[in-house]
């Protein structure tokens, strides 16, 4: 077990190094630089000075070494576009905002999705089943932007039940200001409802036809007991595969939802940084998101073991 952890840790560091290197050189390969738009309307001497100030006048390899050194000590540098913005600041101020939004979306979306999935599987071929599937297709094919604007227009605009924009801050950051979070949470949770309803239904239908379910039923177990003890547990492997990934994705923010509801999260900022070719911020966010995904993949592997005793993490016999 200990060996396994060490091996995964080393793999993780190598992966992160490769990702950082690839990101750096890919960004270098893109034409233009973060200052080119700003420097476009500057006289030559002013332009030289500006590039020198941000260190962009140095040769590429020198900047690569500076960047990698910085990453090693957790210093990604300052934004080229927004004075004073740092990756550390983003993690501290913006990640919690996106994380709360994401967790609420996943919590609500996955709960409702799983319930609908069970319903669809147990009542397969009935109106309820068709409704759930039709709803899933609808929810998954309509983009966030449309849902967000629609909900906003109706519930914040016409009915005025909820605030149009905004997000809890300060002491309400995690548990408070719920009214601000309702519409953004709803907007985002639809995708999860659709995904998980279909996922669980498909997986349950596989299990329902297995012999051991028949055996369980023939033993005289009640319908609820059969579902709970035998069907659900065995249909959970695909869900477990998907869930940590959903969580990782959701806490990294959603550009559209954050932008519609003016939520100061990390998703909006990441897209802006990419548009601006804001090197230091892109590097920082990419490395941190990559680290997050790697950790999540690791957790997923551990979860398999918890759910399905047939899977072993070491791959060797006991």
């Amino acid at each position: 077990m200990g060996k396994y952890f060490v091996r995964r840790l080393i793999e993780m560091i190598i992966t992160l190094f490769l990702i950082a290197t690839a990101t750096f050189f890919l960004l270098e390969a893109v034409p233009g630089d973060p200052l080119s738009e700003r420097a476009d309307k500057l006289a030559p001497t002013l332009r030289e000075n500006l590039y020198a100030k941000y260190g962009l006048d140095k040769p590429m390899m020198e900047r690569y070494i500076i960047t990698m050194k910085g990453i090693c000590v957790g210093d990604f540098g300052e934004s080229f576009v927004y004075a004073g913005q740092t990756v550390e600041g983003l993690i501290k101020d913006r990640l919690p905002v996106s994380a709360r939004l994401g967790i609420q979306q996943v919590a609500l979306g996955v709960t409702v999705g799983l319930l609908l999935g069970v319903l669809a599987a147990m009542k397969r071929g009935t109106i309820a089943d068709y409704l759930v599937i039709a709803l899933s297709v609808l929810l998954i094919s309509v983009p966030h932007l449309i849902f967000g604007l629609l909900l906003q227009k109706v519930f914040a605009g016409n009915l005025q039940w909820f605030p149009t924009i905004g997000w809890p801050a300060g002491k309400d950051l995690w548990f408070g200001g719920w009214q601000y979070t309702v519409l953004p949470t709803l907007t985002g949770c639809f995708t999860y409802i659709a995904t998980y309803a279909r996922l669980l239904k498909t997986s349950m239908l596989d299990v329902i036809n297995q012999d051991y379910v028949l055996t369980a039923e023939s033993k005289g177990l009640s319908r609820i007991q059969v579902i709970r003890r035998h069907i659900l547990r065995n249909s959970f492997v695909p869900v477990i595969t998907q869930l940590p990934m959903s969580i990782a994705m959701c806490i990294t923010g959603s550009f559209f939802i954050e932008s519609i509801f003016s939520i100061p999260g990390i998703g909006q900022y990441y897209v802006t940084a990419v548009n601006n070719q804001d090197l230091s911020i892109i590097m920082g966010e990419t490395v941190i998101l990559a680290a997050l995904y790697i950790v999540v993949l690791f957790i997923t592997d551990l979860l398999y073991v918890a759910v399905d005793p047939r899977i072993r993490i070491t791959g060797k016999g006991r």
Partner: protein, 567 residues
């Protein structure tokens, strides 16, 4: 192993339980520093929208003009109403200019104060101007005062800061000496890079200066009091402001709303008091304004959109060298139709200098007229004549390729509907009127666009210039040799000479005549660029907003005299 599994199961259950709890919602109903317009202590509050927030409180950097012009104040203030832009004394009470136009003496207002109660003195101006010129700071607008004696030398490292001729002769007298007389100098005084900065405060903040609003002091009508990045911001009336008794608004709430649709919903609900509308929203609100449900204000904005040509190599086709070909391209575009079909706002441009630019108090355009209109009208919509003009250019170049085989490349970027309509409109216009092929080379963002443009990978591209100060020269100067590489590298000695001939000239009649000649040379003789539109801004505001102003070179939404009545 079994134990481990149990642990994991527990963790899972816990996570699920937490999820359920979190999903339930409820109403905390506590103070939330966000939208809603609650907790108002006085009716004198206004709610405004910005599509993006900056994060820059350093006036020398001019990162964030709409904020800086309200929370800070310089020697003069720029405001505009129906009658156009005008400058008013603000930090200065009066100004003396020596007869030779070289020495400017500003008499500062003795009752001007910073938000911590300290007086605004001439030393704050001296420090700020020298700070602007410090090469280590690499400020974009340092060149604004290169005409000050010793300034350019200091910036380039050949002179000392002590030789820069900006001086606080006493606490309330600020003296500036120019190298050569320059009437445009005055129009730069409203620009935020020339605003004062407190030495003690800025030095104490060190590297964090301008990056953290809590470290700043303000000398404008309002002061920043709260900020949630990319979300909301509050300005409160600055009680120390010299003219505070005439500032009626107590609080200004800014919301960062990137989506136009969201902003429109908020404006419809009365959650926003002012909306800076564009595109399809203009038609919607214009109707409401006509019905008296809203007030509206259309203002010219000092920016002109234009087609630029490759003057260095003549473009990928090599044809852009010929003036008749450039003219045939320029006159193939129906500007009136384009502004209404593509932009849904703006006005057709037949000159380079925007109508928002004034000269001796009058719109420069009314003085100079529509320079290319006559020639444009003689070709407009007449495909045969346009083809003839283009063919004439081909003959002059000795090109024998038939026009139907000619291919031009239009370089552009941007993915908004407007960007797409713009390039397609130009492509269609040229193809239909000239019978040539126009290929679109569209790149993702401005950085890539600049890289392609600088590699001369185009025949034509769309660009625009937004002016930094109120003088025709700021427009005409973009095409003098070596100033910018971003307008097609036009270079003409005669044109440069005309621009240089104005150095030190104070006579406004001579200046006006030269400006007219320059614009004529540029557009009628050479067709160096093809102006397409003059930009404008459409503001809609609620009926309860009174005395709302705007300006071209100061705050886009000027609030120091605005107030709320009848809400």
């Amino acid at each position: 192993m079994n134990k481990f599994k149990k642990c994991m199961a527990l963790v899972l259950t816990g996570a699920m339980a937490f999820s359920l709890l979190a999903g339930c919602g409820g109403d905390g109903g506590t103070q939330v520093s966000t939208a809603g317009g609650n907790g108002s202590t006085s009716g004198q509050q206004i709610n405004l929208r910005a599509a993006t927030f900056g994060n820059n409180y350093d006036v020398q950097d001019m990162g964030w003009r709409w904020m800086m012009a309200e929370c800070y104040e310089g020697l003069m203030r720029n405001v505009a109403d129906e009658n156009g832009d005008k400058f008013e004394f603000a930090g200065a009470e009066s100004m003396d200019v020596s007869d030779d136009g070289l020495v400017y003496t500003f008499h500062l207002r003795e009752n001007a104060k910073w938000s911590d109660g300290e007086p605004v003195t001439a030393h704050d101006y001296e420090y700020a101007w020298k700070r602007l010129l410090n090469p280590a700071n690499a400020y974009d607008y340092a060149s604004f005062i290169f005409n000050v004696v010793g300034a350019e030398e200091y910036y380039n490292g050949t002179g000392s800061v002590d030789d820069v001729a900006v001086k606080a002769t006493d606490d309330y007298t600020f003296e500036v000496t120019l190298k050569v007389a320059d009437p445009t100098f005055q129009s730069k005084l409203v620009a935020t890079p020339l605003y004062p900065t407190r030495e003690d405060i800025a030095e104490a903040a060190g590297d964090n200066w301008g990056k953290d609003w809590t470290l700043c002091v303000y000398n404008g009508p309002f002061a920043m009091t709260a900020l949630v990045e990319d979300n909301s911001m509050t300005w409160t009336k600055n009680e120390y402001y010299w003219n505070a008794e005439n500032v009626k608004l107590e609080q200004i709430n800014w919301y960062c709303v990137p989506e136009n649709a969201t902003a429109a919903t908020m404006f419809d609900n009365g959650q926003l008091d002012v909306l800076d509308a564009s595109g399809e929203y203009i038609a919607k609100y214009e109707q409401k304004a006509e019905n008296g449900e809203l007030q509206s204000m259309d203002v010219e904005y000092p920016s002109t959109g234009m087609l630029c040509f490759d003057h260095k190599n003549g473009g990928l086709s090599g044809l852009m060298k010929n003036v008749n070909i450039r003219k045939a391209i320029s006159y193939s575009i129906d500007r009136e139709e384009m502004v209404s079909a593509v932009y849904g706002r703006y006005s057709a441009a037949y000159g380079l200098v925007s109508p928002a630019i004034t000269f001796d108090g009058e719109s420069y355009r009314s003085l100079a007229g529509d320079v290319i209109k006559t020639e444009y009208d003689s070709y407009a919509g007449d495909s045969a004549k346009l083809k003839e003009l283009f063919q004439k250019g081909l003959d002059e170049l000795g090109v024998t390729t038939p026009m139907s085989d000619i291919k031009l490349t239009l370089l552009s970027y941007g993915s908004t509907t407007e960007n797409q309509l713009e390039r397609e409109y130009i492509q269609q216009s040229l193809q239909q009127n000239l019978g040539i092929t126009v290929e679109l080379n569209t790149v993702g963002d401005s950085e890539m666009f600049i890289a392609k443009r600088d590699a001369l990978d185009f025949d034509i591209f769309v660009s625009s210039w937004s002016s930094d100060y109120n003088d025709p020269m700021d427009f005409l100067n973009i095409l003098t040799t070596g100033t910018y590489s971003s307008y097609g590298l036009y270079s003409n000695t005669e044109y440069d000479n005309m621009a240089n001939s104005l150095t030190g000239v104070q006579d406004s009649a001579v200046r006006l005549e030269t400006y007219k000649n320059m614009e004529n040379k540029l557009l009628v003789e050479d067709c160096a660029v093809a102006p397409i539109y003059y930009a404008d801004k459409h503001f809609y505001y609620q009926n309860w907003v009174q005395d709302f102003r705007t300006s071209s070179f100061g705050a886009s939404q000027e609030l120091y005299i605005a107030y709320i009545d009848g809400k």
